[in-house]
Amino acid sequence: MVRYLARRLVGSIVLLVVVVALTFLLVRLAPGDTAVTLAGSGGGDPAYFALLRERLGLNQSVPEQLLCYIGGVLRGDLGFSVVRGRPVRDVLLERLPATLLLVGTAITLSTIGGVILGVVAAARRKTWADGAISSCSLVVYSLPVFWLGQVAVGLFAVRLRWLPTGGMTSITASPTRLGRLVDLGRHLALPAGILGLLLIGLIVRITRTAMLEVLQEDYIAAARSRGHPVRRVLFCHALPNAVRPVLTVVTSQLGVILTAGVLVETVFSWPGLGRLLLDSVLARDNPMLVGLLLLSSMSLIVVNLATDLLYALVDPRVSYR
């Protein structure tokens, strides 16, 4: 187990270094540089740009810059974003909670809803309920998430005025803690709902498939023949065995979720990392971009590692080869 852990950890670190290098190269290949963005509009002179580039460390060779960067990462220093006037790490840490909240809420809600609907669909296979759930989930999964988001804003925020159009909190903060919580919830409802809708489609489909497979197993029939109520059989006997594929899918789809997160955060002006990524691409904020991709890759690696370990713990059939 310890050797397995160590091997996975080393592998993850190697992976991370590869990802950093790739990202760094990709970003450095881009035309345009921070100096231009920072300068804004107006005249200027070449000496000024040369000076700016030197200040921004854009004069060194790429391998030099890469080495410096990796050295920095090891010390916990992700560089300085001149575009934002702040260290990259600080900005990332400040915006991380917003994304965690959004993605976390969306995943939690959609997992609960998706699993229940999936179980129902599997239990009522080939009935109208199954048909409706399966078709709806497929439709929802197929719609462009940004489009759905805009329709929702137009309807719920502009027309009906039930919910705010975007952002995370109101300008005038409520004096009570409960009031602030409600305010946050109101802002969270639309983006988390849209993101969750996309996910729920996926989870319903996976749960249904996994459940159908499990329901064919002998022990289910045995449990049923022993007279256990259907609901108990479904949720206590079958579901635990169907959870693993669901978990695998949710973790393997984390990339997709982050992607949808970029679009959802953009549509709802959510102050998270997704919008930061888009802004950083447009502003050519290289240190921020590399930091963001590093963070997203790192979180995916950690989640993968964690789920693998979780399986190893709960499922004795997994060997630590």
């Binding site: 790739l22 970003v27 881009a30 990524l277 890759s297």
Partner: protein, 271 residues
Amino acid sequence: MTRLLTRRLKPSRRLRLGLLLLVVIAVGTAAAGPFGGDPFRPGTVTLQPPSLRHPMGTDHVGRDVLTRVSQGAGTSLSVAAISALAAALMGTAAGLVAGYAGGLLDEILLKLSEVSQVMPQFLVALVAAAVFGSSRLVLAAVLATTFWPSTARLVRGEVLSLREREFVEAARAQGAGGSRILLRHLLPNALPVVVINASFQAGAAVLIEAGLAFLGLGDRNVVSWGAMLADAQTYVGIAWWLSLFPGLAAGVTVLAMNLAGDGLNEAMGIH
């Protein structure tokens, strides 16, 4: 190969529906080409709601939305087709070889697919569009590059499970060479997975293309649903038809591809 596919294929309503939708979209696009007129040509009647003459209305410079929606299908379908096909080819080749040969090749493939797993496709496409420009070909290439490792992994898995099966053993005993076993025995059996995966990837490609165009990183020389949606945003309160129809078109196309994939999946009993 086709015999094998049809043999294992049970008719499925989803599959049929998905394929039907795809055919309708493809025919619609083809028909719009010669008859639909120039999708860039401005007209005199701007921001007109749907009418008999313009069933999907006109946009802010008087262009017919129906013409643009149907031509936008060409953009989406070509990006989807090129990227999914290229990924399928690369992925299958790599998966077959790695699965069959094992060793270092296999290790490299696994590492590559891990890298691609932890670098979200859309984010890479976003940065790449900013770096290399936003032509359709660039996008298709980027998508293919990010898609193929997952195909390869699936094929590799199939090959690993098939490699020791009797019919392969038998072929080997009869003195069949490596390439013959790969092409004649392993490839046909791995193909269904590839097709299913490709149909889902095609759907993802349509959404990614639309998402990039929506963020302003699409190919402007062709009509694109994402770009139409991005432009339509400006008129969201006054001209609902500008965003409804391209949004629906994108949704239906992706749905068709997912239905096809899902249907195939069901028909062949693969999970």
